[in-house]
Symmetry: C3
Subunit: 202 residues, 3 copies
C-alpha cells in the first residue's frame, strides 16, 4: 500500500477534526460546522489542484467526502472528550499540516515544477485550509500571527529536497521530512518560539 | 426555450439586486456596490466552473455582465422602493439560491460526477457568491450563522435526485426541487427554524 | 526588449514593497510579511490565469519569486527609510495597479475575449492582490471604501481600447493608458476625489 495514500487519509481525518473543534468553538450551527470541517480538510488541496490545472482530488474520489463526514460526525459526538484533551485541536492540526506539506510537494514534483515552487505548493496545501477556516470565521489567519506555522512546513520542505538530493529512499524522505514539520511546529509551541515582528512605534 | 436558461437569467438578476442592497447598506461607493453585485451574482458559478475546469460562464457570454449592470442600475435607482419592501433583500436572495442550486447540480451531472458531489456543487453555486459578499464586507458569512440556508439547498438537491430516480420529467424535476429550496428557506425564516449550535460553556 | 515584460517586473517589485509595508504595519512576523508581499504581488495575476485556464505565471518562471524575495528583503531592511517617505506605500501601490491593469487587458486580448471582459480582467489583475491582502489582514478591502481605486483602472482600460480603436501604436497604447490609471489614482488622492456613497438614513 502506498504510504502517500495513508498520509492523505490521515491528513483529511486530522483536519476534519480540527475544523469541527473550531466550528463548535465559534458557535456555528451543525451545518456550518461540517462546512468548516470540509473547507479546512480540502481547501488547501483544492487550491493546489486548481493552480496545477488538475482535476480537484475530492471531486473524483468519494472517499474524501465520506472520511470527512464520518470523522466530523465522530468529532461532533465526542467533542467534549476532545475538549478535555486540552491540546487535541493543536495536535490534529499539526499532524494535518505535516501530512499535507509532503503531499503538496509530491504533486509539484509530478508536475515537474522547480523545487522552490514544490515547497510553496506544500506550504499552500498545508496552510490554506486553515487560512480559509480563519477567514470564514472572520479572524486574521493564525499563520500570519505570532506562532511558527508555515515556517515548520518550509523546514520540512527544505529537508525533503536535501534528503532527495542525497538519494535517501522515497518512503524515508516522506517520513523524515513529515517528522521535521511536526517536530518544528511542536517545539515552537512547547518552547514558545516565535519569529520576530518588525513593527515598531517610530 | 430552455427552462435552465430562464432560471439562469432570473438567478443573476435576483442576486445582482441582493448584492446592490447589501452594498448600499454597507455604505460602499457606487463602484463598490457594482462590484459586490457582480461578485454576489457570479462568484458561486465562477468557483464551480473553475473547479470543473470549464471556461468561466460569464467570460464567454456578455449577457451576464449586461444583466448585472442593468438590474444593478435599476436596483440603485429604485433602492428606496426596494427598501420599503422590507423583505425584498431576503426574497431576492432566496429566489437566487433556489435557481443556482439547480444550475450547479445540472453542471455536475454534465461532468458525470457522483450525485453527492453534484449536490455539493449546487450548494457551492448557490451559497458561495453570498459567502464572498460577506467576506468582502468583513462579516462572518451568513450561511455559517443561525439561519437555515445551505440546508435549504441540500434539501432541494436531495429531492432533485429522488425525483430523477423515479423518472420524473426533467423540467418538473427542476421546478419541484427549486421550489423545495425556496419553501424550506422561506419557512425557516417565517417560522424561525434554526439548526442547533453545539457550543456550550464547559 | 518587450515593454510588457518591463512593466511586469516593475509591477511585481512595486506590489512586493507595498505588501511588505502593509505587513510590517500589521505587526506580522517576518514570514507573514513575505506571504503578504507574495500574495499582494501575484494574487491578482493568479486569479486571472486560473480564470483564463492558463498555467499560473509565477509557477512557470522563477523570476517572479526571486524578484519578490529580493525586493521584499530590501523593503524589510530599508523599511524605516521607506516609512519616512510618507507616501511611498501609496506610490508603489499606484505604480503597481497601473502596470497590472495593462497586463491583464493584454492577456484578455490574447484569449480573444470581449473588450469589456478584458477591462474586467485588467481591474481584477490590478486590484485582487490588494483585496486579498486586506482580507488576510481582516479589513474591508480598500477598493470598496471611499477612495477612487478600481475606477482608475477602469478609466485606463477604456482609454486602452479607445486608443487601440484609433490605431495608436501598441507601445504607446500601453504607456498612455498606464499613465491614465496612474494619473487618475494620483489626482483622486491629491484632490480628495471620491465616488458618492448611496447610503442614507431613512
Amino acid at each position: 500500500m502506498n504510504i502517500s495514500f495513508v498520509f492523505d487519509v490521515l491528513g483529511v481525518i486530522a483536519f476534519s477534526i480540527s475544523g469541527v473543534l473550531s466550528g463548535v468553538n465559534k458557535r456555528l450551527d451543525i451545518f456550518g460546522i461540517f462546512i468548516i470541517a470540509f473547507v479546512t480538510s480540502v481547501g488547501g488541496g483544492t487550491l493546489r489542484d486548481i493552480m496545477l490545472n488538475l482535476p480537484v482530488f475530492w471531486m473524483q474520489n468519494m472517499l474524501y467526502s465520506y472520511l470527512i463526514f464520518v470523522s466530523g460526525l465522530l468529532a461532533v459526538i465526542f467533542r467534549k472528550k476532545l475538549y478535555y484533551l486540552k491540546n487535541s485541536l493543536f495536535l490534529f492540526d499539526t499532524i494535518g499540516i505535516s501530512l499535507y506539506t509532503i503531499i503538496g510537494i509530491q504533486k509539484g514534483i509530478e508536475a515537474e515544477l522547480h523545487p522552490l515552487i514544490c515547497i510553496f505548493l506544500g506550504i499552500l496545501s498545508a496552510c490554506f485550509g486553515g487560512v480559509l477556516r480563519d477567514i470564514l470565521c472572520n479572524e486574521i489567519p493564525i499563520i500570519f500571527r505570532k506562532e511558527i506555522y508555515a515556517t515548520a512546513c518550509l523546514s520540512g520542505g527544505i529537508i525533503f529536497f536535501v534528503l532527495t538530493y542525497f538519494s535517501v529512499p522515497p518512503n524515508w524522505v516522506v517520513i523524515l521530512s513529515g517528522a521535521v514539520v511536526f517536530t518544528v511546529r511542536l517545539s515552537a509551541v512547547l518552547f514558545k518560539w516565535s519569529l520576530p515582528s518588525l513593527y515598531q512605534k517610530d
